[in-house]
């Protein structure tokens, strides 16, 4: 199996503060990999580094075709098939639901396909269909999270990065979303890098699990194995 994303010795931080220390990570194509870890472990920082919002101080980040992501500007990420659902419901509150969604597919040349996907999104996220014309700021927390996810999917990414998608979502919706991620993986070969606080569900849905602690990877194993390892869970995940 080829790797959709490979990090080698990636270090990054904010100013003088180093958050990530020599991360080595390989995400297999068409798999769901989850990164778990305590608050402040550096999970969000990891995603920010991959998407180019933060420049790594060392190491390389490559995608499937060997393309070095560290040289790709943020605005070209989607063109390389990388989409991010940022932490904290990155909804553009001044735009309507519809506009937010359309924005996600805007970079694509074929309008038709984008329109179809749009209809698909409304089917996927029913509550959004009811609020099509509502401005982003009117939405409830969970509605916003759905919108952010839908928008990222509009870009038809090959590598989807999710930062705590379950935050503030009803269990039913969380389950739906995770289920959907699996379906997308199976149907379209989508690769997912999932960051979750909700470790149990995350490990349940993922193929591979990575534990991040204080900016270092302390374990990287098949998800099922991780879920079984009580010692590790107690030490780093607290249950």
């Amino acid at each position: 199996m080829t790797a959709a994303l490979v990090l080698e010795g990636v270090s990054a931080g904010y100013g003088a503060v180093r958050v990530l220390h020599g991360i080595d990570l390989s995400v297999a194509e068409g798999s769901i990999t989850t990164v778990v870890g305590a608050n402040g472990a550096g999970k969000t920082t990891l995603l920010r580094t991959i998407t180019g919002q933060l420049r790594p101080s060392a190491g390389s980040i490559r995608i499937k075709d060997g393309k070095d992501l560290t040289r790709v500007p943020v605005e070209d990420m989607v063109r390389h098939g990388v989409a991010l659902v940022p932490e904290g419901r990155g909804v553009i509150t001044e735009l309507t639901v519809d506009e937010n969604l359309r924005l996600g597919g805007l970079w694509r040349k074929d309008r038709k396909a984008a329109d179809e996907v749009l209809t698909g999104m409304y089917e996927l996220f029913e509550p959004l269909a009811r609020r099509r014309k509502a401005a982003g700021h009117q939405l409830s927390g969970g509605e916003r999270q759905m919108l952010a996810l839908g928008r990222a999917l509009m870009a038809a990414p090959s590598l989807l990065l999710l930062d705590e998608p379950s935050l503030g979502l009803a269990p039913k919706v969380t389950a739906q979303i995770l289920g959907m991620l699996r379906r997308l993986r199976d149907d379209t070969g989508l690769t997912v890098l999932l960051i979750e606080q909700n470790v149990r569900s995350a490990l349940a849905v993922a193929d591979h699990g990575v534990v991040l602690n204080l900016g270092r990877i302390v374990a990287s194993r098949p998800a099922a194995e991780l879920a079984e390892d009580t010692d590790l869970r107690h030490t780093y995940l607290g249950f």
Partner: protein
């Protein structure tokens, strides 16, 4: 700074500046007096805009309210035959009260506005000032404004200090007083409430702070400070007229506050100094240039304005935290250099990025939209 220290510092500053008037030429004393008057207005903006997040372009109108209150009170008292210290103190008090009352009226309306809407409203206010003075020209003296009968320096001082030095004394005492009171407010309960309302009005309300009242109060306080500034200007220049409190002047006050560093009252001091010294320095320097007649005519005045504009742009680009921010950073670097052997701060305290002043006036980046802000809604 503890309260005692603050009072000590204020006292020392007063003594020092008054002492200074004995060594500097009288024109410099006049400049000192104007700088102090400006300082009152700028410090008011620091509180309103810096800590309160309300962008006002109308500070000049409130200074004008102070100046006119001074003028009307002083002239009425003088006509009634009052003399002595009363003729100085009562009009000054009137200046503060007059501006505060106007500030209350405006604040009641402005308290509901935010960002550019408040800016637009306050700008319209300054622009309307000349119209107001000519509409009520029988009282306010129209375009030319009012002459003021002022109480000159006490007879006992006449031989010792120049009129300009005396004006500087008065301005120094009043502005240090204003600054101290503002510092008390900003470092106390009110400052906390003001910043809370600025940062998150809903959360502030839920914490028991009345956002509307806090905003209006900030407006009133800022206006009162401006009123003191206007009163001092009225005293030193013996006049109160609309031309002196134009939109341009209002914008200059704001520039001074920002360029000095809107995050702190010390920044306001730098701003006031700059506002007085910079144009002076630039025009002195440009007038030194030896130029051909033709060139001189093109550059006359324009060169000074161009340099001033350029300086503003450069300061914003190179020192966005203003002069005070620059000094603080330099100080910190110095401190760091000195204490290399001391281990970095305890691991517990999180890294603090260069402290910023979160004034959300132009809503350039709503924090919510920044992926860097975790989990906010």
């Amino acid at each position: 700074m503890s309260v005692t220290k603050r009072y000590g510092f204020a006292g020392a500053a007063m003594v020092l500046l008054i002492g200074l008037t004995f060594v500097i030429p009288s024109f410099s004393s006049y400049q000192l007096a104007t700088a102090c008057a400006y300082l009152c207005g700028i410090a008011g903006l620091t509180l309103l805009t810096g800590a309160g997040g309300q962008l006002s372009l109308g500070q000049a109108a409130l200074m004008a309210a102070g100046a006119y209150s001074y003028a009307l009170t002083a002239n009425t008292m003088a006509d009634a035959g009052t003399e002595g210290p009363l003729l100085l103190l009562v009009p000054l008090a009137a200046a503060v009260i007059g501006a505060a009352v106007l500030g209350l009226v405006i604040g009641l309306a402005a308290g509901r506005l935010h960002g550019p809407y408040l800016a637009g409203f306050t700008m319209a206010l300054v622009v309307a000032l000349p119209a107001v003075t000519s509409t009520f020209s029988s009282v306010l003296g129209g375009d030319q404004g009012l002459w003021i009968t002022v109480e000159k320096r006490p007879a006992s001082l006449r031989g010792i200090v120049s009129n300009e030095a005396w004006q500087a004394w008065l301005a120094v005492v009043c502005s240090v007083l204003v600054l101290t009171l503002l510092a008390n407010l900003l470092h106390g309960r009110f400052g906390r409430h003001l910043r809370a309302v600025r940062d998150n009005p809903v959360a502030a309300a839920l914490a028991g702070i009345n956002p509307a009242r806090t905003k209006v109060t900030a407006f009133v306080i800022s206006s009162a400070a401006a009123g003191m500034g206007g009163g001092l200007l009225a005293y030193t220049t013996q006049s109160a007229g609309p031309g002196a409190y134009s939109l341009v002047f209002s914008l200059f006050l704001l520039m001074a506050a920002v360029v000095g560093g809107i995050g702190s009252l010390t920044g306001a001091v730098w701003g006031a100094v700059l506002l007085v010294a910079l144009p002076h320095l630039i025009s002195t320097a440009t007038s030194r240039l030896e130029l051909s007649t033709d060139l001189a005519q093109r550059l006359d005045g324009n060169l000074a304005v161009a340099i001033f504009g350029l300086v503003l742009v450069l300061v914003v680009l190179l020192a966005p935290q203003g002069i005070q921010g620059l000094l603080v950073r330099a100080g910190r670097r110095l401190g760091q250099a000195r204490s290399v052997s001391v281990p970095p701060q305890s691991a517990k305290s999180a890294p603090s990025p260069a402290s910023s002043t979160p004034t959300r006036l132009s809503a350039r980046h709503e924090p919510e939209q920044l992926p860097a802000t975790p989990k906010g809604q």
